[in-house]
């Protein structure tokens, strides 16, 4: 029998603890496949966030550091500078990256740290039970915006790709979606490119995944995907925001 889909070498045997229909597992798999396909398993290390993906340090089959909430890009900076021969990625949620860790992500990007950042935007704080995130959409109800996000009071969602694309240093910035099989195939290409650029020490690479949190949104997985397509994609436009490698191959 021919094996056409096996567990990537870059994942441990530890079973994922994510809810049914959650996209953290999909994002993990894409990153792991890219590590395998770029032959980086012996030289790569990752930094896990605080959020639903906190146990990412158990899942990736390489050396991993668990960072304090939001600090992953600073931790990754320390590792990369200490071990320039290695290749470092962070994996972060929207609360982690776009709220408490805003300073760390902006300045790592601004320094052009030669790391890859994988950013899962599910418009909510999943782990702590569905509170408002910096990416929660206008009028979206969460446990801490029970009447819907009031933009006059708390502002609009932050678009991280656009924000980081104002900086000069970042090498590659792309927003992809995990909402359909076709989107996932496009996302895989982006992840692969980020990991390849990382392998070649080209500079700071950033991939945002538009995802869902069925559990805290209160939808079935399919409904959640539909809701995200209708509400998130118009606000968080997919696409390449920076690619300094374009035409430089």
């Amino acid at each position: 029998m021919e094996i056409i889909a096996k567990r990537p070498e870059a994942l441990t045997k530890e079973p994922f603890h994510y809810c049914p229909g959650c996209m953290h597992g999909v994002a993990h798999r894409l990153i792991a496949e890219a590590i395998d396909e770029n032959g980086l398993i012996n030289q790569i290390a990752g930094v896990a966030p605080v959020g639903c993906a906190v146990f990412a340090y158990k899942y990736f089959n390489c050396d991993m550091a668990e960072a304090a909430h939001g600090r992953a890009p600073a931790v990754a900076t320390g590792i990369k500078r200490a071990r320039p021969d290695m290749h470092i990625f962070t994996y972060q949620g929207d609360g982690d990256l776009a709220a408490i860790g805003t300073a760390e992500i902006v300045h790592s990007a601004n320094r052009g740290e030669k790391i890859s950042v994988f950013f899962v935007n599910n418009a909510i704080y999943g782990m702590t039970g569905g509170q408002m995130a910096p990416t929660t959409l206008p009028n979206m109800k969460t446990t801490t915006s029970p009447y819907g996000r009031n933009v006059d009071d708390i502002g609009y969602p932050i678009r991280m790709c656009e924000l980081l694309a104002t900086l000069v240093a970042p090498y590659y910035i792309e927003r992809v979606s995990l909402l359909s099989p076709a989107d996932i195939i496009r996302a895989k290409k982006a992840v692969n490119k980020a990991i390849r650029y990382n392998k070649e020490n080209r500079g700071f690479t950033f991939i945002e995944f538009i995802s869902t949190c069925p559990t805290n949104w209160g939808y079935e997985p399919e409904q959640a995907r539909q809701w995200a397509k209708e509400n998130m994609l118009p606000f968080f436009k997919l696409g390449v925001y920076r690619d300094k490698g374009e035409g430089v191959e």
């Binding site: 441990t12 398993i41 012996n42 030289q43 290390a45 930094v47 906190v54 340090y57 158990k58 089959n61 390489c62 050396d63 991993m64 550091a65 668990e66 960072a67 304090a68 600090r71 600073a74 931790v75 990754a76 900076t77 320390g78 590792i79 990369k80 500078r81 200490a82 071990r83 021969d85 290695m86 300073a103 760390e104 902006v106 300045h107 320094r111």
Partner: protein
């Protein structure tokens, strides 16, 4: 090697580099700025890493990453910035990572001022960050000692896989004194240092070797497992208390009627005052903790068993270490405290007056 006249802030930076520190992350703050500036100048010359971080929070988390990679790494700041490092220090202690943090203390609370003070004693020795953890805390009282503590701090950090703080102050940071440096670590020694942590740190897999999966982590959701981890830390701390207490005795004798206890810059002033009252035939001794955690309780207990009628604690704060002295004295003799707050440094004449009142 001959002696060089140098500021404390520069001496500690030079000594750290000689001790094999090739990674330094910090954010500017007075009165430690000469330290970060020295590192900015010298690190590129030794092919080291210097990053002026976006905040002290970022700096200590860069330290977490570099220490997790098994390399000698240092950060420095002054009081308000050290408060920001407390989150990271708790994680570093929890994950058992070796690193060195220098606090060139200034007056507080809040933004306070930029004059020398000792108001961060509680923060350094009793916690500061959350959870059950300890820092090893070294307390220099001269520029030479400040410099010597660099290699000591890195060795302790490596030996116990624990963060070590050097608790100095603005006086020691700014003051110039002659200092003699130990020879710099050779490339071979640096290599050896880098290899000592390979069994647990973030490092590449060697070709052909069994693939490792090292986790740098302080999280454990199962309380029974976390309990075991913390009990392991406590065992390590007990070991540190057994092996690593250091203190200086000054003018200690059976004739001492008053025993002073003072640390860091304060102890220098107390020594001058003791010399003065000694001329009047009044016998006063001094115990100076060189390390304030682990604390020399036993040494203090030994001295008060003799002729001592009173223990006098002098600090540049509102009375912090005095609580440890009281633990040591166990109520056997009265313990008095006198200090200055807000970054005001007491004079030998003031201490002399206080001591004379004891007789």
């Amino acid at each position: 090697m001959s002696k060089i006249l140098m500021k404390g802030n520069e001496a500690i930076a030079e000594a750290a580099i000689r001790s094999g520190c090739r990674l330094y992350f910090a954010y500017p703050i007075t009165p430690q700025s000469e330290l970060i500036e020295y590192m900015a100048k010298m690190m590129p010359k030794v092919k080291g890493t210097f990053i002026q971080a976006e905040s002290e929070v970022a700096a200590i988390n860069m330290v977490y990453g570099a220490a997790g990679s098994g390399k000698r790494v240092m950060t420095s700041s002054s009081s308000p910035g050290i408060s920001l490092k407390m989150e990271g220090l708790s994680y570093i202690a929890g994950a058992e990572l070796p690193c060195v943090v220098v606090n060139v203390q200034r007056g507080g609370p809040g933004l306070g001022d930029i004059q020398p003070a000792q108001g961060d004693y509680f923060q350094a020795t009793k916690g500061g960050g959350h959870g059950d953890y300890r820092l090893i805390v070294l307390a220099p009282s001269s520029v030479q000692e400040f410099a010597d503590m660099a290699s000591e701090a890195f060795d302790l950090a490596d030996k116990y896989r624990n963060p070590v703080m050097i608790l100095a102050d603005g006086m020691l940071g700014q003051m110039m004194e002659p200092v003699e440096f130990k020879p710099a670590k050779t490339d071979a020694e640096l290599q050896e240092l880098a290899n000592q942590h390979l069994s647990w740190c973030i490092c590449p897999n060697e070709d052909g070797a069994k693939k490792h999966h090292h986790e740098i982590n302080s999280l454990e959701l199962d309380p029974q497992v976390l309990e075991q981890h913390v009990l392991g830390l406590l065992k390590k701390y007990a070991e540190i208390q057994k092996n690593e207490i250091r203190y200086e005795t000054y003018n200690i004798s059976d004739e001492n009627e008053v025993l002073c206890v003072a640390w860091g810059t304060a102890s220098r002033v107390v020594k001058s005052a003791i010399n003065e009252v000694q001329k009047q035939g009044k016998s006063v001794g001094l115990i100076r903790p060189i390390r304030v955690w682990p604390y020399p309780y036993e040494a203090i207990k030994q001295v008060i068993g003799k002729n001592v009628k009173k223990v006098y604690v002098f600090e540049l704060n509102s009375g912090q270490m005095v609580e440890d002295v009281k633990i040591a004295v166990e109520g056997k003799v009265p313990v008095d405290f006198w200090g200055k707050v807000g970054g005001v440094v007491f004079t030998p004449a003031e201490i002399k007056e206080k001591l004379e009142e004891c007789f």
